[in-house]
């Protein structure tokens, strides 16, 4: 397609500029080169690729997004007005992918937990560069992934979180990614690396939002390495502006007996694609992938998950729920791989969608690839409407039709809300679900 060629050319010029203006140390520079080479070779995905069959990103390809100027600024009032879940420090703010120390508050981090900007880590000091070269680009593979390649090619800043072995970080660490597009459409590329040491415990909230009517592309990549016995509770909240696009890739590798849970909440953005890939790389690991996605207007929400049971005795639980109104569409693709050695695997997957309008659509596909013979794997998908009997029951108890609908919509999501341990996220969702569903795209 001609647009793709034009688009790729424009990114080539920008890539040359980034290399010039933001040089990186040796190994990271070659990582960037490799990544751009891959992006150039792959081009943006089309619906001819199986993983993108139901998600047409032509609208993203057509916009001439520009990599932002080196340091992004944002008024505090604009930040405060964004629909981001916040519960105070420690809180780190990134504007169009770049760390903004002025807007951040690192207080409350316990000893043994370090949060640094990727730019600062890359500039060396306190072994920062070692951490990056050891992990960056190794979990989120870009060789066959154009968006991750694009993110890696333009690598400049982001968040690096290191938790020392045995350290328990009780307060959630908030990473706020704000995109600001005026006057031209911006390419905002958040990048996060989380390295949890053996036996450590940490809770991290990544939230994404943006202001304004100008489209922007938020292309986020997060890598998580959890060592043996580490516990990582991770939240991704996507509440992008109506005109915005968001593509996220969460890549996780778990050590022996470690526990990772992810909660991906999508409520805003014209096209949102969330990918999560977890490798259970040690015996006895446990992984929970939960997701809640709300669609309205002409929004498209796509969740792609892969859980790779590479070792024996690992459990995975996956529950995604969607609430779709208007002409919104959603895609869920849940892949579970159970490798030959991964005996005694216990994997459960479920995707449930609630369709509130005649025109809303969901495409759901479980994909199980099982090579071991002593495993338990279950999957299920349900698609339904609000129960008319329940609606009448509530109305017969004096609740208006609108109240009854909202109560049932909230109830549909209740079990997922119950798993969210960050009060600020739960409160935001309560408000969103009980007051109204987000309107967008119309």
């Amino acid at each position: 397609m001609p647009q793709i060629a034009i688009s790729a050319d424009s990114y080539a010029a920008q890539f040359a500029a980034v290399k010039r203006t933001a040089p990186l140390a040796g190994p990271l520079a070659s990582l960037r080169d490799d990544a751009f080479h891959c992006f150039d070779r792959l081009g943006f995905p089309t619906t001819r690729l199986e993983e993108w069959r139901f998600t047409n990103i032509a609208p993203i390809v057509e916009v001439p997004f520009q990599a932002p100027a080196a340091s992004g600024g944002l008024d505090r009032e604009v930040l405060d007005a964004l629909p981001l879940p916040r519960s105070g420090a420690p809180e780190f703010v990134f504007v169009n992918g770049s760390f903004s120390p002025d807007l951040s508050d690192p207080s409350g981090l316990p000893p043994g937990v370090r949060v640094r900007s990727l730019a600062a880590s890359a500039a060396g000091g306190a072994g920062g560069l070692d951490v990056l070269t050891a992990h960056l680009g190794r979990l989120a593979r870009f060789q066959n992934h154009a968006f991750t390649a694009l993110n890696t090619a333009f690598l400049r800043d982001g968040a690096v979180i290191e938790v020392d072995g045995g350290v328990v970080s009780e307060r959630p660490i908030h990473l706020l990614f704000a995109s600001s597009s005026a006057p031209a459409p911006v390419l905002s590329q958040p990048r996060v690396l989380i390295v949890a040491g053996a036996g450590s415990e940490v809770r991290i909230v990544e939230s994404h939002a943006g202001a304004g009517d100008v489209p922007y592309l938020s292309n986020a990549v997060t890598e998580v390495s959890a060592a043996d016995h580490a516990v990582v509770d991770h939240y991704t909240v996507v509440r992008q502006a109506d005109a915005a696009y968001h593509v996220g890739n969460l890549a996780v590798r778990l050590g022996r007996a470690s526990n990772f849970s992810s909660h991906t909440i999508t409520a805003g953005g014209a096209i949102v694609r969330n990918e999560a890939g977890v490798v259970l790389g040690g015996e006895g690991g446990e992984c929970t992938l939960n997701g809640l996605y709300l669609g309205n207007g002409r929004q498209l929400v796509d969740n792609q998950t892969t859980i790779d049971h590479a070792m024996p005795h690992c459990d995975s639980h996956e529950l995604y729920k969607g609430i779709l109104d208007g002409r919104s569409r959603a895609v869920f693709n849940g892949k579970i791989i159970v490798r030959l050695d991964a005996q005694k695997t216990d994997a459960k997957q479920s995707n449930k969608a609630l369709l509130l309008s005649e025109d809303a659509q969901i495409t759901t596909k479980p994909q199980l690839e099982i090579f071991a013979d002593d495993v338990k794997c279950t999957h299920g998908a349900t698609i339904g409407q609000l129960d008319p009997d329940a609606l009448f029951y509530l109305r017969s108890r004096a609740l208006s039709k609108a109240q009854a609908r909202q109560l049932l919509i909230h109830a549909f999501a209740a079990d997922l809300l119950g798993h969210i341990k960050v009060e600020a996220i739960r409160r935001g969702l309560d408000a969103l679900l009980l007051e109204r569903l987000p309107m967008s795209g119309e």
Partner: protein
């Protein structure tokens, strides 16, 4: 209180109610009895405004208003309460949350101040004791995982909190053992007052031992074919409903 004239209703193509006449005055307890399929639940549903029940003729006036013209929630706010034959399980909606929201809708409609969480809980606990209910049920999802008896108790508990002027009990006795039946009946009796009317819809006479009606009506093929005092219920218990088929003239008169 309630005046039903020549009420005709059906579901889809099927005609179920073929002209019901019934007048309920304040404080009265009316039992509507009849065999399966006679139209008892359709009558209850038509009065409460259930979707899918289509009123094709006649009228129902509640406190001087055209009841059939009101949305279900407005009927409820005006003081009509239906205790469901099959209470709906609603996972994810907290029992106390629903009841507090319901009560405050009713109070707003009456022009009374809304109750806060504390006052509500005080009232709820008082009413629960009437029904010998476990406090824990308040904080469970509505009817979710309740036993049959717990569901029916929960319905009457809601009645006791909402204090309607007209309560329709749709086969509240079905599926209850004798102890549960006594408890539920005691709860209902505690709520009887000169201002509050009851329509007790039932297949069996058993419940009417405990909730003694002023009037008993026999519903058959969508019509009230016989009305009388509480002794009519005893007669029905003795004779069953078979005689209705044997007296087609009476049944269609």
């Amino acid at each position: 209180m309630l005046e039903i004239r020549d009420l005709q209703a059906g579901a889809g193509e099927r005609r179920i109610l073929n002209g019901i006449d019934l007048v309920v005055n304040p404080g009265e307890v009316h039992a509507v009895m009849g065999p399966n399929g006679s139209g008892k639940s359709t009558l209850a549903g038509a009065l409460a405004g259930r979707d899918g029940i289509e009123v094709t003729g006649g009228s129902a006036t509640f406190k001087g208003q055209d009841l059939l013209d009101l949305d279900p929630e407005v009927r409820a706010r005006e003081g009509l309460f239906l205790a469901f034959q099959y209470p709906v399980e609603i996972p994810g909606v907290n029992n106390a949350y629903l009841l507090k929201a319901a009560l405050n809708e009713v109070r707003k409609h009456r022009g009374e101040p809304e109750l806060d969480a504390m006052d509500f809980m005080t009232l709820a606990r008082k009413r629960m004791s009437l029904l010998d209910m476990d406090d824990a049920l308040l904080n469970r999802p509505v009817n979710d995982g309740f036993s049959g008896g717990e569901k029916k108790r929960n319905e009457i508990f809601q009645l006791a909190v909402l204090e309607p002027s007209l309560a329709i009990l749709d086969e509240t006795d079905s599926g209850l053992d004798i102890d549960a039946l006594k408890t539920v009946a005691a709860g209902v009796n505690a709520m009887r007052s000169p201002e509050r009317s009851l329509i007790v819809v039932t297949h069996y006479q058993r419940l009417l031992h405990y909730i003694v009606p002023d009037f008993v009506h026999v519903l058959y093929r969508g019509r009230i074919v016989k009305s009388g005092g509480k002794e009519l219920a005893l007669e029905l218990e003795e004779k069953g409903y078979g005689w209705l088929d044997a007296e087609p003239a009476a049944a269609t008169a």
